[in-house]
């Protein structure tokens, strides 16, 4: 169990929420806080109480609804306004009243920002820091101070910036956090400046790095190398502009590469699960190519590698993916050779039998389908159905005669989608209709309705995600549409793919595979 000597401080709910396109409800914030606590961070910055009603409500509900195992809740706010007593500042009062045991105060540490943005004197800025820190300490709060624009400020006027750190520490702040707010620093700058500030002030230092140079993770680690013992990160690197240092890259590096136990035991293996779950709540598709946790992070494509990986996987991965709860995957694509197909069949549990020709035939069919726009890398279920066909055990539960779907907006403003499908199931001709909140949803319902008489277990099947991608014809052909459908039966998920010039046509192909694979899973 990590003690107080090193802080993993998460600011997803405050700084991460600044990411373009992100809009968190209070319920979202509570769910994310719970996940961050399961991941084992020491501090969760919940927002700025008093600055907007949503954050105020979050702290109210958190004190009643949220039971944290590991983390302490932290409120973010500013130092008192110029020319007012901390006691009389309503913004400072909102911090006191938030109920959070820890407060992070943002303070200006770049003299140009003090004069041009805050529009007060350099001395008054120091007084604002000293007063507000002392006031909150007197009220029993633990105080951290975020020195905004610290590295730019230090580069411009090292004396003033250092003075801000000294003032904060002398007034009672436990940690003074040096912020690269504009994200322009490179690791070499960070190492030099953090070392100098540590030597000049003796304060306990933290680091908060934005990713505008693409170096936020490296900058955070550079600060730790130089003596910082408090790292501020966000889940999946969400944050303003490019984003913040990614919690799920910084923590694995500290644990696995620096050899420093910064999480409670057992938590590191939750990395991939928590990263993916938070992405779902934030409603951003999980970044497939994210270090450590992305579905591609341990995925091998090159035919060259695939044959060597059969010999010794550890030669080809920087860490064992299980340490962060991820898996190695073999990708099937037209770069793949027979070795990849054999590994993939083993992974999917399809017995290729003794026939040495099968892997070659599958490689040929995959290449041909990928040329027409298919992609099996993300659609294991469709690939498995294809493998089964090639080994002579195709899965077919019904034959399609025709289908039709209609969507309309009526003159009264109401709108509706409906569909009709005509199938042959076990020798019977079946006609069924369905209504839905879109043409694919209507087709899905009509298809299930046609089959449920014969296969009642289809009732547990659910379409959980639907993705559409327009592919430009690379050689002047027509654009085609690729549809990926993710389905669930409550015990697992699978993805199927369909391609066509007509999006409804492509969706139907993926739907047919989705239902067929679902029936296969149920042992039909």
């Amino acid at each position: 169990m990590p003690d107080d000597s090193f802080h993993v401080f998460d600011t997803t709910l405050r700084d991460g929420a600044q990411r373009e396109g992100v809009n968190l409800t209070v319920a979202d914030k509570l769910a994310i806080a719970k996940l961050l606590d399961e991941f084992g961070v020491g501090f969760i910055e919940g927002g700025w109480p008093g600055a907007n009603p949503k954050d105020t409500e979050f702290f109210q509900r958190a004190s009643q609804e949220l039971t944290l195992k590991h983390a302490q809740l932290t409120a973010f706010g500013a130092t008192r306004r110029p020319g007012v007593r901390a006691d009389d500042d309503p913004q400072v009062a909102a911090l006191r009243e938030s109920g959070a045991p820890v407060v992070t105060l943002v303070a200006k540490s770049d003299d140009r920002h003090v004069e041009r943005a805050l529009r007060t004197s350099l001395d008054e800025n120091l007084a604002m820091i000293a007063d507000t820190v002392a006031h909150l300490c007197e009220h029993g709060r633990r105080v951290f101070v975020d020195c905004e624009h610290f590295f730019d400020g230090y580069t411009h006027d090292p004396e003033y910036a250092t003075g801000v750190v000294r003032t904060a520490a002398d007034s009672g702040a436990d940690v003074v956090v040096l912020c690269d707010t504009n994200g322009g620093m490179l690791p070499a700058d960070i190492t030099r400046i953090v070392s100098e500030v540590a030597r000049r002030t003796g304060a306990r230092l933290g680091i908060h790095a934005q990713d505008d140079s693409g170096c936020a993770v490296a900058n955070t680690l550079a600060a730790v190398d130089a003596g910082a013992t408090h790292v501020q990160c966000t889940a999946n690197g969400y944050g303003e502009r490019v984003g913040n240092a990614n919690l799920f890259s910084v923590v694995p590096a500290l644990e696995l590469k620096h050899g420093r136990a910064v999480l409670p035991g057992g938590c590191l293996a939750e990395t991939t699960r928590v990263a993916t779950a938070i992405a779902e709540i934030v409603n951003i598709a999980p970044a497939t190519h994210q270090p450590y946790v992305g579905v591609s992070a341990f995925a091998h494509k090159a035919g060259l590698h695939a044959s060597a990986i059969k010999v010794d996987p550890d030669l080809y991965q920087h860490i064992d993916p299980e340490l962060v709860g991820n898996d190695m995957r073999m990708l099937v694509s037209d770069m793949a050779g027979r070795a990849s197909i054999e590994l993939k069949a083993r992974e999917l549990g399809v017995d290729l039998g003794g026939d040495r020709a099968v892997p070659g035939r599958v490689v040929e069919r995959v290449k041909e389908l990928e040329r027409s726009g298919y992609s099996f890398e993300a659609a294991d279920a469709s690939l498995e159905l294809l493998l089964r066909e090639e080994v002579g055990r195709p899965a077919r539960f019904f034959e399609v005669e025709s289908w039709r779907t209609i969507s309309e907006r009526r003159p009264d403003g109401g709108s509706v989608s409906e569909a009709t499908v005509k199938l042959h199931v076990k020798g019977e001709r079946v006609i069924a209709t369905g209504e839905g909140n879109g043409p694919v949803n209507a087709l899905d319902r009509a298809l299930r309705s046609a089959l449920e008489g014969v296969y009642p277990a289809l009732g547990s099947l659910e379409l959980i995600d639907y993705k559409v991608r327009i592919l430009e014809g690379a050689t002047g052909t027509h654009a085609v549409t690729r549809v990926l459908i993710e389905s669930s039966d409550g015990r697992g998920e699978w993805t199927t793919v369909g391609v066509g010039e007509n999006v409804i046509d492509a969706s139907w192909t993926a739907l047919e595979d989705a239902v067929t694979y679902g029936l296969l899973r149920q042992g039909h």
Copy 2:
């Protein structure tokens, strides 16, 4: 004009193509090479001639079709096989015959890989390197050697790894490139090891960093700090697993932060254009949050910042975005205040007039629409239509009575989509139909057909991108669909947004806005 003393080496066409989901045609590769040359890189690694037919064809066509202003084309290949003369190895012959003036040879430098993956002796591996380098030099090629798994190898057996570097340099390789193939290194490791190898061998060193630790850009810069004068990168960081060092982050850092002119004059301002164009060809949506070039890279959301940015933008950005061909943007979202709306109206050229109440009203409407699933951050055209309504100058060119669209697959296997729309245009009731390769395409054609009689200029309008996003109802409500439509009239592009439970309904809303905005641009 940069001389040979520093190499910007791009391997998008070889290593970048290993990214999961990427599948480049020869035409794609030629188009990307042209863009990389416009960006001013010194070397473009085109692929592995002989290893697959596509790469062989690329080098053939490149020698006839590609005129490069700045870059030299480079062929990638392996050292000769164990126990064969370089002269007799067909793979080495394919490199000679590719026509590329420069060859990059991959060599094993980790003793474990030599023994377990290559399955030859440590001495034979050195002989393979020496023979192949010498052979290609004799045939007039310039040779670079990529030491695969170098950093892992050096950590395991520094003597052997160093011996590989010495062998390559002594045999005539101009640059010996140290590769972090598994991407596990951190910048501090890179600095130490590159410095040691430089001191021990005196060879000219390069760096090739994979991004598995999220540190590829920092690792590349750390190697340059330690004396490397050749950097291998890929466009947008495409590459196997997590990816490679991002060319469009490394080069701006070298130019703007290290102060080193590594591109021909004027090229740096092409960064954003080239990054986006390559993403389009590769058919991966440009990464919105990518450093330097993403649409979010200089986008400001927080109401707090927005008011200060009006005072002095340079206080809030790490570089001037124009240096890399990007722009500052103000985002409108429910975090925004009046200051953001005022800046946005100015950016869009909408005069809010003297009415102080208008910005407040717009903020309220944006908040309300965003709660129901709208997002205006990416849909400036829809936002402008909303602003125009609020200032009392709404744009309305037609009234919708009703529409209907049908998609079907007939028993003969053929499929078709058609649509009917009923509108009122300048007092006339118009009914029109359209066929398309999907329901939205059919509605688009029917809508245009209904309007073209009155607005013939609509003929130049084109729907160029269509994106669908399923939004989960965060508080247990129904899922809604958000549609973004990008349109063009040959002089510019604009994006509109529609939201609804029914995807066709949401698409129609975005289509209506798209056509309305197009007519507005034409001065109606």
